[in-house]
Subunit: 330 residues, 2 copies
């Protein structure tokens, strides 16, 4: 079954090279939402886009840029891996609302309002207090709605996420996180958030990053699929997908950049700790993108029907993007 | 008496030219803390410093840069007006803690953690909810303490201001605001904040911007001096000074920049309103810097002793800066 599916991974941030692209193809991935920036600002974001353009040029036989949902179908037809750009923080627009349309024109399709810390737009999940979406944040959500850039609250705090769901006139996404009820972690989401997300037409991408899973790297495929089933009951089968958060071949310096940016002189260990500062050990059943068929099989074994599996593995993401990426009608 | 005083104005943001510098000299001003940036980022801040360097070169007979408190005494001795740089927002360090030391080396002596809106460091006084100083904000205050850059909370919210007073190991300033008890305005400060500020060794600069005064442009000198007397009772005579917030010869486009930055597509009127969008009419007794002697006389008439007047007009600022600008002992 897996080969016929449209498979969409709702988040990866790997140290991209030809071998990793080949793994994506071999795992039957139609499209992957790639993080191009964390703390990078405008100029640095252009640098990252430039680096991606070079990758598209060098590996055009394997990958292609996704500039609309039509390109996802095209990637499937051509047997290439579609690459969709996203940002895990709002530093890519700095302090300028005009940058939203400009970044969208450069195919930045998804943007998180925060990455763990307070941003100019909203509060991250690592701050002590979350005061919700800010004055600038309200303007930004409106503008993202207008141009068809998707709001992602994966790394945001509870109140900010509920605010964003309410303020946004279009459904939002939590591209890579799991329910707190499955595993309590600052990055995972409460049932209240997930319910509001589902009811508003939004989407949750299940994370396979061990810090977001019960028993970490020892989480079993069965436990993962149980979580999927419980969340389907909570949110509805149309509002869930995959967002692996796979970070392949990244050195520890990248993890430190993600966690510390330029904001801290002291080492912040994020989801880790001083004695556990490195990348987590991968799951035995999901070591890299070649293991996507394991998820499909796990979901089938858990009792999901074929059409349900197809939705979770990619169709829900496809439908969500198809709506979310269109410019708002005026 | 006025001519013998060291007179320090704790904030001005004028459209600087020779005539304005002459007014400062004629009003007996020894030093003025000038805002060099509102929403400007690093590159733009360097542009502003470059513009100031050109002004120092062109008008060296009238003005001089203040790079330490010794330069304030030197300005007094030479009969020049000392110019001290400050920022009304933290955009001048963008997202980078390393920029604090660099900006301090460029003589940026005072920095507000916020300007009305939520910043990466703390919450502004115009947000609906104030969640206090952020994770990045705590690191920044520590670093500002280390290098001797003064924390200014003039445009911050209540909770963030109380947080900053508590977190900072060195006294902070509210360079230009008035007590809310005198005139209720988002920009003015509660007695709780002012008391905590005074007790921690901090300083309040009284604003002469009509939006911060009872009866606006019709506020009388007597009413102003009453406010000073009441605040002296609350905070102590050593913790008050002047911070006029004088914005001379600025076009409305600058007011719009201050209020809207790059964050809003809709017009935000700040302290004004749609029907009152322009700069306020000036006070009759403080039209520009030539009127500083009026304040001295007003304070004398209100019953302040000469040494108290001297403190309010400049010595308190001088003592505060003398402590605050030194790098922290290690």
């Amino acid at each position: 079954m897996h080969d016929n599916l449209i498979v969409i991974d709702g988040l990866q941030y790997s140290n991209w090279n030809r071998a990793i692209f080949e793994q994506l193809k071999s795992g039957g991935v139609t499209m992957v939402h790639v993080t191009i920036v964390y703390h990078e600002q405008i100029r640095e974001t252009l640098l990252r886009i430039g680096q991606w353009n070079r990758l598209f040029e060098l590996h055009h036989d394997l990958i292609m840029p996704v500039k609309s949902t039509a390109d996802i179908y095209l990637a499937k037809k051509l047997g290439k891996v579609g690459i969709m750009f996203g940002a895990q923080n709002c530093s890519a627009i700095e302090d300028d609302i005009a940058m939203i349309e400009i970044m969208r024109e450069l195919n930045l399709m998804i943007m998180q309002l925060t990455y763990n810390n307070q941003s100019l737009l909203a509060c991250g999940c690592y701050e002590a207090v979350d005061s919700g979406v800010t004055r600038f944040g309200r303007q930004v959500i409106k503008e993202m709605n207008r141009v068809g850039m998707i709001v992602d609250m994966s790394h945001s705090g509870e109140r900010s996420t509920l605010d964003a769901i309410e303020i946004s006139q279009r459904p939002i996404v939590i591209s890579h996180a799991n329910p707190s009820s499955f595993h309590a972690a600052k990055r995972n989401k409460s049932d209240e958030v997930l319910k509001a997300l589902g009811e508003s037409g939004g989407l949750l991408g299940f994370s396979l990053y061990p810090f977001h899973l019960k028993n970490g790297p020892d989480c079993t495929l069965d436990e993962f699929c149980d979580m999927v089933a419980n969340t389907a009951d909570l949110m509805g089968i149309d509002h869930i997908g995959i967002g692996t958060d796979l970070c392949q071949e990244q050195p520890i310096s990248i993890l430190q950049w993600m966690r510390n940016g330029r904001w801290s002189k002291e080492m912040d260990y994020g989801e880790g700790s001083k004695s556990d500062a490195d990348w987590p050990k991968p799951l035995s059943w999901f070591k890299d993108s070649r293991d996507f068929p394991n998820i499909t099989q796990g979901l089938q074994a858990r009792g999901f029907h074929d059409e349900e599996v197809a939705k979770i593995m990619g169709l829900n993401w496809l439908n969500f993007l198809d709506q979310g990426l269109q410019a708002q009608k005026v």
